[in-house]
């Protein structure tokens, strides 16, 4: 059974290159045959917002949607979303607005290794 990498992302999609690092790690892990779970917490929830359209930088939302289509599980914290005015239905297709208790804990349970990407 393939091992599972958990990516715990707490930096926003445009704050720094952290979200790009998360995407590149996730892509490489998927290509090597690992399962990947990504949980967005705090500012990290912004990566799943549909409609991101950076003119000159990589489109993290689009890339995360593509990785979700390839099997990555992506969930972000609903409380953090509500605090930032992002609501269910506004997420990139294939991603989910969920919770620490129901989703992050499940990711941890299923995970073999976790990498935290935060400042």
């Amino acid at each position: 059974m393939a091992k599972t990498m958990v990516i715990h992302l707490r930096t926003g999609s445009m704050m720094s290159m952290d979200s790009n690092v998360a995407v590149k790690l996730a892509r490489a892990a998927l290509e090597k045959g690992y399962n990947v779970h990504m949980f967005g917490y705090g500012e990290g929830i912004t990566v799943i917002k549909e409609g991101q359209d950076p003119k000159r930088f990589p489109n993290v939302g689009k890339e995360i949607g593509e990785l979700a289509a390839k099997g990555m599980t992506v969930v972000v914290c609903e409380t953090c979303c509500m605090a930032r005015g992002i609501h269910r239905g506004e997420e990139v297709k294939g991603t989910k607005v969920g919770s620490l208790t129901n989703d992050f804990s499940k990711f941890i349970k299923e995970g073999d290794k976790m990498i935290t990407i935060a400042r």
Binding site: L100, K109, G111
Partner: protein
Amino acid sequence: MTDSILFIMTKPPYGFEEFFAGARASLAMLASGLIGRSTLLLVGDGTLNAVASQDPSAVKMPSNIEAINDLADFEGEVYCIADDLKSRVGEVQVIDGVKMVSWDKARELVSEHQMITTF
């Protein structure tokens, strides 16, 4: 499969939301029933969250004391590096239930927990 997670808390209270967010995430692990052990370790500036006289109402922020007490309700453990706190603010009273420890104990905690995240 993971059954234990250590939250290393590095940020001081009330300038960042990190401690509160980390404590809530730790609580969620225990509340989920999926993770058997979820522990906080306060290091560096993170040790300042253990100060008993903190008054978050002064800045209208959620209480880190309550967050620690909530963890205690779920038998979550909270450890604080004694030397780090003392070097910052001298001898101060700490929140009930916070265990003051050395780096030897911190290394034991790292070995005992299968995953580690940093806030």
